[in-house]
Symmetry: C2
Subunit: 349 residues, 2 copies
DNA sequence: CGAAAATACGAAAACGTTTTCGGTTATGAA
DNA sequence: TTCATAACCGAAAACGTTTTCGTATTTTCG
């Protein structure tokens, strides 16, 4: 029941603790013979180093922290998954915390991770995080920090993002290409850079294609949930607005809208075309299938960890890497909700 | 940049390390005056105890491990979320590992958690885990272990589950109550107790209501994915099987089937009724809305952590609790895919 | 006033590892 | 044989905390 220690192996073999330790780590100043003996004994006793002691001595925990607004989320879920997998391959364990989009909680969680002495931190900010003092603290302590998806431009750390503006532009352009002329936007909350950029991309696309921008055609979804999609879709119909296309901030919202149109007999895509964002798995299972913007969570998660790992390695060598911002590619996926032809088309971006 | 230690506070105040430590922990043998001084100084220097040292000394990490087959999953996602939240409230951090339904990986991850000296472990087994030696090892080391959802009856630890058999029985009965007489079952893989029990519940319901059980009406979904639902639904139609109801192992499979019926113009629920399992959020957003069995991941997650916490506390007091198996309630949720009336009905269970 | 009891503090060991540095023995060369 | 060198091993410090136990000082009370 009690875990075996170096001391026990040493006593059993009648040698010193130091030699046992060195033998197990293949130090050159231990003979092959004793190495073999020690290793055999360690194996036999099922020795596992006490990581508390190792951590204390080496000052590293081989553990990294991850804070995200929400775990139950197709996009974030994939990121989490990719990060865990990659980290494990490199011998790192991941502590995951969920901020629930609550800046206060986020702050506490950062402190928690710091006090646990994690080697590095990855974070996607809460929607309305404005005070960034907790993040500055992380930087000040020299803990490698990588932000992704929802970032703050104020913090000089590495960031993995997508070009939301460009992606939104292309989603909107897709609707225009399909013949839409009056396009509404179901936007996300006002604060996060994310929703701002998507909104700006939408607006720019309209302007570039000679369509009038009308602020009445922009609906706020805060929070970004299914119900908001339903709500605004219903409003659209009730007010008899002359809309023939919708660019939704997120698939979830688009699906909400879609459900209202299905209920009310509004034909999609004939009467109205709609495109979402994120390419949740479920969007391809809807009727009609939902057009969307593909945003690969797995690739992003990989990138996030890899960047952190690089900074971790650099720190070990006493270096400090200059922050880097990487934009992941996205692509518009045209499906049944925006295209009459049944053949789905993918436009590169 | 360097973290402040007890020693520094002690030197600054000209007192001993021991007194500083005790002052911060409100030991009775420290005067109010010095306590105040120490606390003020600690606050000022932003002291945070080095958890490595604390862990080493106290032999507990205040960290627990969680292994699940898949993070990106509505049900598991909710469980993860609930566990993280509850754990944080009690001062525990959670290390999450994903087994990808791979028994080998699961084994390695258990070893990883043991070597990290987590205080306790929560696990939902991979679908085809048969060798349970790694779990026995956990038990042998006296590490509190709680299994949930996908469990092994061979391990004498606490388990949080649902009564799959009963739930499946009631789902099938629901279809029968709606007038179905030829009911197919899209079942899960052969090994996990889960799918076995759901299958058995289905079979029992048929028999209890005078309907003939026909093994040709049972379709295997392995893995349990959307595509399998589509595949079997298509087969059903192609072979012109005279089926008027489907009980699917999972909502995902039901949604796959639903999409085929939508495409092929099979009216649901008029021609055919269908019910899923798990009550994924998305099931209420489908057209038609999907009937299902509600299985509350959040409640289950809470229960899982609470049980582990209890065992953790007991262990601290040198006790060891007898294992307990808790079944969480489920309930059938009738929606558009199985009921003609638009009003959804919830039958208690 | 003197003894007993209460109060406040600190010395030191312990947790299990890593790593430096010095020492001992064996090896080889002169 | 002698000395330099290489090969191997171990003593000991260090990481930062917690906690026991002893001691010195003060207080209490007969």
């Amino acid at each position: 029941m009690e875990q075996v220690t170096l001391k026990q192996i040493a006593e059993y073999l009648g040698i010193s603790i130091a030699t046992v330790s060195k033998a197990l780590k293949d130090y050159p100043d231990v003979s092959q013979k004793t190495k073999a003996l020690v290793k055999a004994e360690a194996e036999r006793l099922n020795y596992q180093p006490n990581s508390f002691a190792v951590n204390l001595r080496t000052k590293e925990s081989r553990t990294i922290g991850l804070i995200i607004p929400e775990v139950v989320h197709f996009f974030f879920g994939n990121i989490v998954r990719a990060i865990i997998t990659q980290a494990e391959k490199k011998g790192y364990l991941v502590i995951i915390l969920q901020s629930d989009d609550n800046p206060e909680l986020e702050k506490k969680q950062i402190d928690l991770l710091i006090s646990k002495r994690v080697d590095g931190i990855m974070i996607s900010l809460a929607n309305n995080t404005v005070d960034t003092s907790h993040l500055q603290k992380v930087m000040r302590l020299g803990i490698p920090l990588v932000m992704f998806d929802k970032i703050s431009k104020l913090i000089p750390c590495s960031k993995i993002i997508i070009d939301d503006r460009k992606a939104a532009y292309e989603a909107t352009k897709h609707l225009i290409d399909q013949g839409c002329t009056k396009i509404a936007h179901f936007r996300g909350p006002l604060l996060p850079q994310n929703s701002i950029d998507r909104f700006l991309g939408y607006k720019k696309a309209l302007e570039d294609h000679g369509l009038e921008y009308n602020s009445k055609h922009v609906f706020l979804c805060d929070p970004i949930i299914y119900e908001k999609g339903r709500e605004h879709a219903a409003a659209l119909l009730d007010q008899d607005m002359d809309i023939d296309g919708i660019f939704a901030n997120t698939d979830m919202v688009a699906i909400g809208a879609l459900s209202v149109f299905n209920e009310r007999g509004v034909k999609v895509p004939e009467h109205l075309k709609i495109i979402g964002f994120s390419n949740w798995f479920i969007s391809s299972a809807m009727t009609p299938t939902l057009s969307t913007v593909d945003q690969d969570g797995i690739k992003m998660g990989k990138k996030v960890f890899k960047r952190l790992f690089k900074e971790l390695q650099a720190k070990k060598n006493g270096q400090i890497l200059p922050p880097e911002t990487i934009a992941m590619p996205t692509k518009v996926i045209g499906r049944g909700s925006s295209m009459l032809s049944k053949t789905a088309v993918a436009a590169k971006s």
